[in-house]
Symmetry: C2
Subunit: 434 residues, 2 copies
């Protein structure tokens, strides 16, 4: 079985069998039988010709098996994770993780870093002084056993084939492929040792999937391939046209997450976090209906049980839990400035531009190797649809370098508009699997 023959098969639009896919994944893992240019050629053929559900399921399984699959079977309780395809101001992981864990779900959450206009959970967590995202496997186990929640980065042993393929896809214009996105996401999740996964597929101007149709396709692919690999999967397609919550930026998002766990969060963020957490509880088998699950999660929020888990998680991972009551312990900028509404009317806003402005301020990465500043970012004092008077604050901009502020300002000026009529109110959850 030669690489060139496998590439030819896909190029001609035929289905690859499990052995052919295994050969490809082995090639991506350690180079056996495949060069980088052969991997790239097959990736492009997959982008152009697609993959069947069977092929995608096999690819996902092989990629998960390319490295270590964690064995969490010695930890009692159902293990369920949540994954989002990335958005602006999306800090739900920091809220629903503690809430689900407070309801008895074991949440072994491996997250990523931010790139471009989207933020990353790891970056946000690292704004907490002392917080370690690189736990050893032993520490990860202990955290799950004691706290029920561990928030870490992907270790190098997890799905090495995905690391290789992702690096290649990034520079060969082969990122945009539902089968490849599905396999990349699920291979890492399968390797976590979970039994259930809640997927939040973001859709809109601030998301990777721009249209509902694309987002729905990805959600369906994730569901069917996850199920084919023995996972219980629930999928959501949620709107990402405007920032989720009010805060965009690492330290600022930690504060907003804590406020939300204290019951003072923005409505959209609170609602979505509760909804996703409830699905985790339901997938874990800890509630028989969604309604019951939501009640349990709401209770964990109302009683402060979720906040308590987050505090324990921070402490367990080396962070300073006093930040929960003293935000001054988080990295902060000395200077803020505000952007105000030029006139009375209703706010319109675009998430992507706000995300890029935060990146430009230093809060995100243009390239994977960029170093971020945890303290900078943007707080949306007005949200899309809000009625504002002229002079009322829209954005509070937390900046450090004046040069970066100057680069971010035009982006922010263009990211919102004041309309005469209120915009049509769009639902946050566009679709939800049954």
């Amino acid at each position: 079985m030669r690489a060139v023959d496998i590439i030819r098969t896909k190029r001609d639009g035929s289905e690859l069998d499990a052995d052919e896919i295994a050969s490809f994944v082995r090639g991506a893992t350690d180079g056996t039988g495949w060069t980088d240019y052969q991997l790239a050629a097959l990736l492009m053929a997959i982008v152009c010709r697609g993959m069947t559900a069977n092929e995608t399921a096999a690819l996902t399984r092989q990629m998960a098996d390319s490295g270590k699959r964690l064995d969490l079977s010695d930890i009692a309780g159902p293990k369920v994770d949540k994954h989002s395809t990335g958005g602006v101001g999306d800090k739900t992981s920091l809220i629903l993780g503690p809430l689900a864990a407070a309801c008895g779900v074991i949440v072994p959450m491996m997250s990523g870093r931010g790139l471009g206009h989207t933020g990353g959970t790891l970056d946000k967590l690292e704004s907490i002084p002392g917080f370690r995202v690189n736990l050893s496997e032993y520490e990860f186990h202990t955290a799950l056993t004691k706290v029920g929640l561990a928030l870490i980065g992907q270790t190098k042993d997890i799905a090495p084939a995905d690391k290789k393929l992702y690096a290649l896809r990034d520079v060969t214009a082969t990122v945009e492929s539902i089968p490849l996105i599905t396999a990349s996401i699920l291979s890492k999740k399968l390797a976590e040792g979970i039994s259930g996964l809640v997927m939040d597929v973001k859709c809109g101007a601030g998301a990777f999937m721009k249209t509902f149709q694309e987002a729905k396709q990805l959600a369906q692919s994730l569901a069917s391939v996850g199920i084919a690999n023995g996972l219980r999967v629930a999928t959501f397609v949620t709107a990402m046209d405007v920032p989720l919550g009010r805060a965009v930026g690492n330290s600022l998002e930690i504060i907003e997450s804590i406020e939300t766990l204290k019951g003072n969060g923005p409505k959209d963020l609170t609602e979505l976090s509760v909804k996703l957490a409830a699905r985790m509880v339901q997938l874990a088998g800890l509630a028989s209906t969604i309604k019951e699950a939501e009640k349990r999660v709401q209770n964990a929020l109302d009683t402060g049980a979720g906040l308590e888990v987050f505090a324990q998680c921070i402490a367990h991972q080396g962070g300073d839990p006093r930040i929960i009551d003293d935000y001054a312990l988080l990295p902060q900028v000395s200077g803020t400035m505000t952007i105000v509404a030029p006139r009375r009317g209703f706010v319109e806003m675009t998430a992507g531009a706000v995300g890029i402005a935060s990146m430009v301020l230093g809060g995100g990465r243009e390239r994977a190797e960029d170093v971020i500043d945890p303290s900078v970012g943007i707080v949306c004092r007005a949200k899309a649809g809000d009625r504002v008077d002229g002079g009322q604050v829209i954005y509070e901009v937390h900046y450090r370098a004046m040069s970066k502020l100057q680069a971010a300002l035009p982006l922010l000026e263009e990211s919102f508009a004041i309309a005469d009529a209120p915009p049509a109110e769009l639902p946050l959850v566009l679709e939800e699997s049954t």
Copy 2:
């Protein structure tokens, strides 16, 4: 202009502009801005999405300009070459080159080596003791000035981008693409410094293009892209279902070429060689009609003028011209065996199998690095359509190693059949540009 953006443009089915194509070709030439896996990804995107005539013309021009373009302007007379997409027993270059040169055409022919079931002109020539295909540019000039014909290999300065891309295409299943084939062929031909080109696109079981439709598409692409780059082009689509002539194998094909130049050649080979040579004469502007051109070529054949040019060419390139009258000076095997018709009837034959049998005997290459044996091969004593009696010789097999003979025999046995009725006689020239 980043490689990844150029790849994305083609992946999404859009047209690349001249600058984007120039970037790609520069990357293929010296690696500037492009890695091998990015080149491979774009090649696959081109295979899947195609290229417009404009794109292919730009690609061809850029590839020709990636190295040295020979300047033959100091040699008086029209320079015209012929190129074939490769077949079994196709030795027309060795016949039409001398014939066209005898009619006054300057023929600066750069040829290739055999691979798989197809033979290569260079391999055939090298069976002539002393013959050098690697002339210096100065020697090449001198040969063209004095003889009017030079038969050489592609120098390393000619279209280096094509060398790189071809090597990549071979191992990434991106060979089968009409735009890429067009650019590969014509970039090298443009670099030869010719003004006219006759293209023989082979079509059938023994050719790269299996169907008439594909062959016709390639012929049209070659014509339009050649013309867009200032070449006068004539195209033929010719049948390659059965070997051309009777001899398959390097030394054996040299003998058959000389016999043809002596007027004793097989009908199909003679006819096609004359037809193609006549088109070269016409493209050179040395005859106003095809009929007149054919008359001149036929005259060069009948008078032995073509044979005389071939003898001069051999002598000028270091070969022993005495082979023309003494075939014993060519490499020969000691053993031949014959395969006979099992019964009376009409011969059916498949070119591909005969070509592979010759390769297996040692006359061709399975891989580019294989060393060939010039003496082995097959002579078809009966041709497709011939009426034979049981016991009559079909193939005369020239072999050296018994083990290779044993491997070739079953292929040869399966390469022909005896039918009760004569096969439908198909024309040799399936289509010819006006």
